[in-house]
């Protein structure tokens, strides 16, 4: 069932380095005279800072202790690139000044000769706090007498807005079937294997900064450093060639790299800061944490007529540098791939004493899919049709395309322009095992399949840069403004370039993750590596090929249209080889060469953009679960994914992305949750508490590809980074609800808190046994 391994698609060229420990992550860098930094962080959820005494730490040998008053730029804040008109932006200070608002907020930076000493000395920095009442949940924050986090956030509301399409109220009143439920997508974190970290090296003679950092967005980091440290951008070099995973957690600049860079400037020595796991769980942004109250209405045949709801995002203590993007995406995607004519959604972004909210794989889309996909199952039961059938009756069909998105959050021109969604649902239902009846195993476990769809908006945020150059030996180098956290761009970009230019794959080298390479770039996030990054490479290589052919035509005294490039050599279109190669053309254009025309090399740069910034990709997931009804313990027995990646540049890489996404999604659905108590104390500060899925919990995952080519980009690719995650939680919840009671509804309400723990499953089993209606 899996796609055939394409004999022509190469193995990942980056794997040897990555798998043999030869990659260079931030912590692998050791510079002469380098010193080590540790942040002093708030142990309180909410407190006033009465005083900070670095004296004991300095007396004990700290090379420096930086606090807010040591930062000349403390009045400035990080540049926030994402704006929503309703947002009341309150960014954190680069180091806390008078108040801390979440456990882990940075208060001071301690520098010492080694990491051990730095941790000992950090413990000696005396910070006097006066604890304040804290907000441990969005409900507490919205209570009438709640303590106020910021004067800018009246009632602790950081943003509120509505989406209104049609007449939701009136349409709901006329609906034949109506179901109302609450959902809670728990707080989670991206948890890259490599935590954040950097090595900053400020050269005081040149007044320039080099920083090696674990980030997904190096140009954004450069922009912030230049702005905050008051340096010309060209004097700031940001390098992130190897990054050990990001998953959205590193897709924005942070205060830490700014303070560490300043420390290097103050000390005149390179400074290394590597976030430890304890710190990472506290201080790297969190995500999800979105609760819904929704009502769905449909007609007698199960056609959706209205959706009403209220979405509350628990955004933590500040609006961070990605604003309220997950709330925007989650509310914008509330209809997913379905036609819902009337929608009324109220959105609230509420401040609490928690780590600021930002993106994590899916970035709002899993949060949207959970209520939508679970409610479809309930309505199907009410109408008396199957879960597959209700989806088929509502999903956007080829005849509806191009179909303008109901809520155009990704820009005014976003539409589903191609694809066969109904066929994908049908195939998923037919091929997964979904039609098997729920049954009881000899072990006593109840089993059933659950189904869910997810629409992934890929290539969010337009523009990406690429440059392709041919050297005098015919070697080809691709520079890209992208970054890689392991997604395989060094392979796929080389493939794309080789194909567009007509050279062997082995001749192409890909470089990225260094701001010295290109003037502009964005980075890897939002499934944009293929949709935006690879198209930039293909476009640049294509234009370079045109240039090469024009030059070859001059050399061969024939029209360029009669020529082609094959294996790096110019051929006539009739197949006849010519003596001209890319190497000889590259030599010819050099200064003193016969074709020299003022440019010193054979190269082409391109900034890719597209009229429609999003390329949509549908995924349909089916999960089979088995439940021990006495305890609520359950396991995922089997898993099936139907996916449309458009053209697969490298099927093995596509499959890796999807399988990795599903594993991540299963962890989100079943295990991982960041928890705080009412005082804003973090309860899940280690990986013994924040549970991450491991190999033994992962079932067999079967992949099934459909290929329809989108019209939004020349390569015909769709992004694949998030489709593995988005439908996984509702697929699991729907399977659990169906296994517990295949026909009835009402028992499933405890399952609507993700991750679903066994105690909640037991509660649902007991409700079903009692026949309790919702």
């Amino acid at each position: 069932m899996s796609a055939p391994r394409d004999a022509n698609s190469p193995l990942r060229v980056e794997d040897k380095r990555l798998l043999t420990g030869k990659a260079k992550f931030a912590d692998d860098l050791h510079l002469d005279r380098m010193v080590h930094a540790v942040f002093v962080r708030s142990p309180h959820g909410h407190a006033e800072i009465l005083g900070i005494d670095p004296g004991p730490a300095l007396a004990a040998g700290a090379l420096a202790v930086l606090t807010a008053k040591d930062l000349p730029f403390i009045g400035k804040t990080l540049i926030s690139r994402f704006f929503h008109p309703s947002m009341r932006t309150v960014l954190p200070k680069l180091l806390a000044t008078d108040r801390v608002r979440f456990v882990g907020e940075a208060v001071a930076l301690v520098i010492a000769e080694d990491r051990y000493a730095a941790e000992d000395l950090a413990a000696l920095v005396e910070v006097e706090y006066r604890e304040l009442p804290a907000l441990g949940s969005a409900e507490a924050a919205l209570a009438p007498a709640a303590v106020q986090l910021h004067p800018e956030w009246p009632g602790n509301v950081a943003a509120t807005f509505r989406h209104d399409v049609g007449e939701a109220e009136a349409a709901m009143a006329k609906a034949v079937h109506r179901v109302k439920r609450s959902f809670n997508f728990g707080r989670q974190t991206a948890l890259p294997l490599e935590t954040r970290g950097c090595v900053a090296d400020f050269d005081s003679e040149r007044q320039s900064l080099s920083i090696w950092i674990s980030t997904q967005t190096h140009y954004n980091v450069r922009n912030n450093l230049a702005f905050l440290l008051d340096m010309p951008e060209y004097n700031v070099r940001v390098v992130c060639e190897d990054v050990g995973g990001g998953f959205g957690g590193k897709s924005r600049p942070y205060a830490e790299e700014v303070v560490v860079s300043h420390a290097s400037r103050v000390l005149g020595r390179p400074v290394k800061w590597i976030e430890d796991r304890f710190e990472s769980l506290q201080a790297m942004t969190h995500s999800r944490a979105i609760a819904w109250e929704v009502e769905f209405g449909c007609d007698a045949e199960g056609r959706l007529v209205a959706l009403k709801g209220r979405m509350v995002a628990d955004i933590g203590a500040y609006t961070f540098t990605s604003g309220i993007v997950t709330a925007e995406v989650a509310s914008g995607q509330c209809a997913g791939p379905y036609k819902i004519p009337n929608i009324g959604i109220e959105v609230l972004c509420v401040g609490t004493n928690k780590t600021p909210l930002a993106t994590y794989r899916g970035a709002g889309q899993p949060e949207a899919a959970l209520p939508l996909e679970c409610m479809l199952d309930l309505l199907a039961k009410e109408v008396g049709i199957s879960a597959a059938e209700i989806r088929l009756r509502n999903i956007v069909a080829p005849a509806d395309m191009p179909y303008a998105q109901i809520i155009p959050y990704g820009g005014p021109k976003c539409r589903f322009e191609s694809g066969d969604f109904p066929e994908m649902v049908r195939r998923a239902a037919d091929r997964s095992g979904y039609h098997e009846r729920p049954e009881t195993l000899p072990t006593g476990e109840s089993t059933a399949w659950g189904l869910a769809c997810g629409i992934e908006s890929t290539g969010f945020i337009g523009f990406e840069s690429a440059k392709v150059r041919i050297d005098v030996f015919g070697n080809v180098t691709v520079w890209s403004g992208m970054t890689s956290q392991g997604q395989g761009q060094a392979t796929t970009y080389a493939q794309v370039c080789a194909e567009a230019l007509g050279v062997p794959f082995e001749k192409v080298t890909v470089r990225m993750g260094d701001t010295q390479l290109m003037a502009f770039g964005r980075g890897a996030f939002a499934s944009r590596g293929a949709v935006v990054g690879a198209n930039a490479v293909a476009g640049a290589a294509g234009q370079l090929k045109d240039k090469v052919l024009a030059l070859a035509g001059t050399l061969l005294q024939c029209p360029a249209e009669t020529l082609d490039v094959r294996q790096g050599q110019i051929h006539r279109k009739n197949g006849e080889a010519t003596p001209i190669t890319l190497a000889s053309i590259a030599q010819a254009v050099m200064p003193m060469g016969p074709l020299y025309s003022g440019q010193a090399s054979l190269e082409q740069e391109l900034i890719f953009d597209t009229e429609q910034t999003l390329t949509f990709a549908l995924s349909v997931h089916a999960a089979k679960v088995a439940i021990d009804r006495r305890t609520g313990f359950y396991r995922v027995m089997d898993y099936y994914v139907m996916h449309d990646a458009g053209r697969m540049l490298n099927p093995v890489i596509v499959e890796g992305q999807i399988v990795g996404g599903v594993v991540d999604g299963l962890g989100c659905a079943t295990l991982s949750e960041i928890e705080y108590d009412a005082q804003g104390q973090l309860l899940t500060g280690t990986l013994a508490d924040y549970l991450v899925i491991t190999a033994p919990e992962v079932p067999r995952i079967r992949l099934d590809h459909m290929e329809t080519r989108p019209t939004t980009n020349a390569l015909g690719v769709r992004g694949v980074g998030e489709g593995g995650v988005i439908p996984a939680p509702p697929a699991i919840v729907n399977a659990l609800a169906r296994a517990i009671d295949p026909a009835g509804i009402g028992h499933e309400t405890p399952l609507f808190h993700v991750p679903v723990n066994p105690e909640a499953v037991l509660a649902a089993c007991r409700k079903a046994a009692k026949g309790v209606a919702a």
């Binding site: 941790e119 413990a123 430890d276 006495r630 305890t631 295990l671 549970l691 491991t694 919990e697 066994p758």
Partner: protein, 275 residues
């Protein structure tokens, strides 16, 4: 996540260990496999001034048969328990339970004595020793005392071990040939500490030994589950034993839920050995 500075001493004989314990008492901590202690030190939850590393004390390691007991040295690795023919033959419950301890990496370093002295409420080894009625041999400069495992654990992470004492050896009564055993635990992930677990051993005579782990702060020995009867006859006894446990509530599970899991685990184990 770096520990505070500490001194480390590496004795090679038991006498030396006991002398060091007598001298440093509460300031010192024994380190063997380090699978619990080192993470606690890295998080600075534990900051012992002196670590007494017993890894070079050969006498503290090994598994041997001694009349109707099996004696296991405190430094014996959990992996060695799994690999031992003596354990497989004479202590089938321990052999079965050991497969549930942590992961292959932690079993390679983690020791039998280290797990018992750490006294995690969910630890498999603690449950097995309480269920089987093992004796723990505690040694100090002043001499030796033998404490039944059922009296050793006082609370979560608290035992009767005095600061100057070393848990030196564990002595376990062997199972008769034909003994049937069962072990079950409920954990969120493979290798995690269990939320609840149960261990049952049925002698050919029909005599039962049963214990429940994870539900209370120390392993619970089910005194009333002492002889084989029908499941129907045992069900109320199981309920009584479960009700007798002062169950813990934490983030992972409520007290009620722990009891539910403990009851399911124990019931399954009994059904298995009685079948």
């Amino acid at each position: 996540m770096k520990p505070e500075a500490f001194e480390m001493v590496r004795p090679t004989a038991i006498g030396e260990v006991l002398e060091l314990l007598a001298r440093h008492g509460g300031a010192a901590k024994i380190i063997a496999g380090g699978q619990s202690l080192v993470p606690m030190m890295n998080l600075r939850i534990a900051s012992p001034g002196i670590l007494i590393d017993i890894n070079r004390v050969a006498d503290l390691s090994g598994i041997r048969r001694d009349a109707d007991r099996v004696r296991i040295g405190t430094l014996t690795r959990q992996r060695e328990v799994l690999a031992s023919d003596i354990v497989a033959r004479d202590l089938p419950l321990l052999a079965l339970a050991a497969t549930h301890i942590g992961h292959v990496q932690t079993r390679a370093r983690g020791t039998v004595g280290g797990s018992l002295a750490h006294a995690d409420p969910s630890a498999e080894l603690a449950l097995v020793m309480v269920t089987l009625g093992a004796d723990l041999i505690l040694r100090s400069h002043a001499g030796e005392r033998v404490v039944p495992a059922r009296d050793f654990f006082q609370d979560a992470l608290v035992t009767v071990l005095e600061p100057e004492e070393l848990l030196a050896e564990i002595s376990i009564p062997v199972a008769a040939p034909g003994t049937r055993v069962a072990f079950k635990e409920y954990a969120r992930r493979h290798g995690d500490f269990a939320i609840a677990s149960a261990a049952v051993q049925r002698a050919p005579s029909g005599a039962l030994l049963a214990g429940i782990g994870g539900v209370g702060s120390v392993p619970h020995f089910c005194r009333k589950l002492n002889e084989s009867r029908s499941m129907e006859a045992l069900a109320p006894v199981v309920a009584e034993e479960i009700a007798a446990i002062d169950a813990m509530t934490d983030r992972q599970a409520s007290a009620d839920y722990r009891r539910t899991l403990g009851e399911a685990a124990l019931t399954d184990c009994l059904r298995e050995v009685l079948a």
